[in-house]
Symmetry: C3
Subunit: 391 residues, 3 copies
Amino acid sequence: MTATSLLFSCSMHVGMCHPPKVAATSYACCLQNQPWSPLNSASCGHYGVLENSKLSLRSDEILCRAGALQVESAPSFSVGQKFQLDDVIEAQQFDRETLNAIFEVTRSMENVRNNSSGSQMLKGYLMATLFYEPSTRTRLSFESAMKRLGGEVLTTENAREFSSAAKGETLEDTIRTVEGYSDIIVMRHFESGAARRAAETARIPVINAGDGPGQHPTQALLDVYTIEREIGKLDGIRVGLVGDLANGRTVRSLAYLLAKYQDVKIYFVSPDVVKMKDDIKEYLTLKGVEWEESSDLMEVASKCDVVYQTRIQKERFGEKIDLYEKARGKYIVNQDVLKVMQKHAVVMHPLPRLDEITVDVDGDPRAAYFRQAKNGLYIRMALLKVLLLGW
Amino acid sequence: MTATSLLFSCSMHVGMCHPPKVAATSYACCLQNQPWSPLNSASCGHYGVLENSKLSLRSDEILCRAGALQVESAPSFSVGQKFQLDDVIEAQQFDRETLNAIFEVTRSMENVRNNSSGSQMLKGYLMATLFYEPSTRTRLSFESAMKRLGGEVLTTENAREFSSAAKGETLEDTIRTVEGYSDIIVMRHFESGAARRAAETARIPVINAGDGPGQHPTQALLDVYTIEREIGKLDGIRVGLVGDLANGRTVRSLAYLLAKYQDVKIYFVSPDVVKMKDDIKEYLTLKGVEWEESSDLMEVASKCDVVYQTRIQKERFGEKIDLYEKARGKYIVNQDVLKVMQKHAVVMHPLPRLDEITVDVDGDPRAAYFRQAKNGLYIRMALLKVLLLGW
Amino acid sequence: MTATSLLFSCSMHVGMCHPPKVAATSYACCLQNQPWSPLNSASCGHYGVLENSKLSLRSDEILCRAGALQVESAPSFSVGQKFQLDDVIEAQQFDRETLNAIFEVTRSMENVRNNSSGSQMLKGYLMATLFYEPSTRTRLSFESAMKRLGGEVLTTENAREFSSAAKGETLEDTIRTVEGYSDIIVMRHFESGAARRAAETARIPVINAGDGPGQHPTQALLDVYTIEREIGKLDGIRVGLVGDLANGRTVRSLAYLLAKYQDVKIYFVSPDVVKMKDDIKEYLTLKGVEWEESSDLMEVASKCDVVYQTRIQKERFGEKIDLYEKARGKYIVNQDVLKVMQKHAVVMHPLPRLDEITVDVDGDPRAAYFRQAKNGLYIRMALLKVLLLGW
């Protein structure tokens, strides 16, 4: 919340220039105790500091200032005065209020999607997908989201072999180049923290599409959105996290976000080798979230609103294939589990799934995992809209 | 034709919802003797069963029903009542009537293409190119077709390394995810039969862009279209199939389709090691198509309307390079062949060509192979239009 | 200039058909002393000779002729009567008059870009990026340019593995196929001269995005454009070329272009192992351009309007890592260099940069290299516009 209010005071300071990102730039300045340079206040719309420095006042600045006036009087922006969203870097950055606002926009996106002629909301905007490691599912979801809103996409599926990166260019230099070609950057990187570095450099919004073992915030958002969409509430829910809780980036982020809601109870069901780590347990306790570990999937399934199954990640076991095989078979969601689950409860999974959910579960209305994947599209549409157009 | 009528009765049952694919879903149900679930009848437009299950009536359903009324009164759809096209899986699926209807749409596409401002017919539609093995030529042709009609594209050139596929996700699960992001899937796969599996899973149309040694139906369609476009007829034509007839997927599919026309004669001209296989010969005989094998290219060329040359596929010879070299040089289309060919006849080739057609042939008006490649664009435009908008 | 005038007389001959490329076709004919065939005069707009051969007069030809009349009366085209731009193959092809005209269009593109809703100038046009070696920076820049103007893109990042190329298809055949799917080809190739071969084959415009050690004309254009944009003039400027002058394609092309302006002085500052080659020195002398070699970066920096730094290309040193390390550290642009540089002078770099420019230079208004990269976008927008729509 401090960040939020700080941001707000900044965005007041530099005026209502679009997109919100400019506030982030200013925010960065505040933190680094840098003086306000004329360059910074000039960097308006998606135009960087550097390119304006030697030019006389340019049409985009005029447009921007004109735009500012209109914007200030636009009620729709009043939301934006509550909180400013500049980049999407980690699940923890969102407070409950921001989550609600994002989910509200997300729901509206379901209808946009349903209009086969599509929306032109982001017409003229260019998204660069800068992927330093392949993740076709995530990339397609973001690119579909951008195109469903009438925007365009520049794709880089192997940024790691980005000729210049191979030659030793820094991430910062690459970002400075790519921001010249696009209006928003969606980045997947193999290094934890890379997304933050990119966001600090870029003068356009950056969305973290996963950085190494670190964060995958849009996955966390779509998980929480799906729970609310399926169960109808977030306060007072019972969630069973099943499978690989030690290595699963998803379940960790989900636990962080669920801690923002009231009277939540979380059950951890996992083979001993991949138990949930203490940092999360301590965080939950600190936040007053009730949790317990259990080895009885059936019992947990019968109590929960959500059974969140995950894949045992073979790649994390290295040599120890025997351990993997043992862990893998232990907790399977099948017809027996469905039988004990409540009528209103759902099965979720971040996908891809192997055999930890049997195929005969797919036909059951409570199998929510493909709807969950689809919600990823709506969440990403909403984030693109908010980051590029504001609330 | 049974399938066709079945499809029609089904499509009647579920009403005129768009796109036609919904009929296929119902059809699938019939086959599997599943009861009609409210979910199925609700799955309308490009919206799957799953995602509707927990939602109240959504705008797309209303739109769809409204649309239905208009559609029923639209004469253009009367064609659709004769036959329903839901997926493009194999050359054999098309009867002569369907081929004529497709070619009629294809001809209209040549004019669309000629309007440099392009058509917006498919504006708002998203095509996913899911290629499990690279085929740049085919991919570009499909993507060009979609964009020429104002549609958008999601590209996956290395779906085989699709992170989730690598982790062991089934094709069915991948399809269920991708169908959430797009309106039609164009799939290239290394396994024969993969396209059918995808089509049975998907609730949106699937086009087979080649599955292993199996089928490449759009190539077969463009070949037949080219013959009609160049010669002006299909009944009573004389076609010489030259080169690698044992491994050439193209010539096999072409033979299948030619069998649907009257008084066709086919000549097989190939080195002994790559002769046409018996299954095709038997099929032609069964269908009353006259065929003969010949080792005299000059004589065949002098009689044919179409000399269809193919590349000897080195990759099929493995170690036996000597056999390859021997086969390769045997039948070359050059100026001498042109001299004996009739004025109205044409040379075709699926491309790429090496030296089985000498470069000095390119300048002759009878060299139809680059026009043939171009026709692939029109055929694919037509299929995308019909599958997404109906007839 | 002979070529230019020849082209013009040809374009007069075939009329004002669009796009200009048709003139190139005719030009090719002149050179090869081929008679005017009805086919050639029929090949109009982006329609090739072959595809028209068997067809009666088609709508695009009519359109084209109609268009021609309008065009002839359009004053904007009067520029086009001075010189015809058909392909972009090498820096040397541009005379000073053409450069000025291109830069004029480029300046107008900066405003197009600033309109966030984008331009629809190239709506309905398709650009194929045919890259035989990866160059993400260049590819993204061209694709961004095309999309900023409302055009669409077909991407091939690994044309070298273009299935058909791998099977031994000639570049010419690939071009004939790709030209059927698109309206303009942007090609990157590993072989010097490949771009010219492509342009001679293609009936649509071709832009060379770098062919091996040969040419990278759009880089050269953006460098000269940046100098004029930053310094305000090109005649009478002092330019220091620093770093790897032996292998740097960029500095060689830049030297060629600078020779077209009056009273230019060039300083070469480079480690002995990577000195500027004699051919360029002789060319400059021949053109009356003053040049000198120096080993004193500080002295040169104090005199120049432009310090053009380049990366020492490790990949060119092979085994001799010691030589590389020695050369690499020798001339670094840092705060000390900035101190001696004049207020109006700028530092340029083609990027990527390693440590030959220290990061603390980035904040200085005279650090022009990221603006330079951005200008690449505007130059490419201008070239696409001129090649597809004419002047």
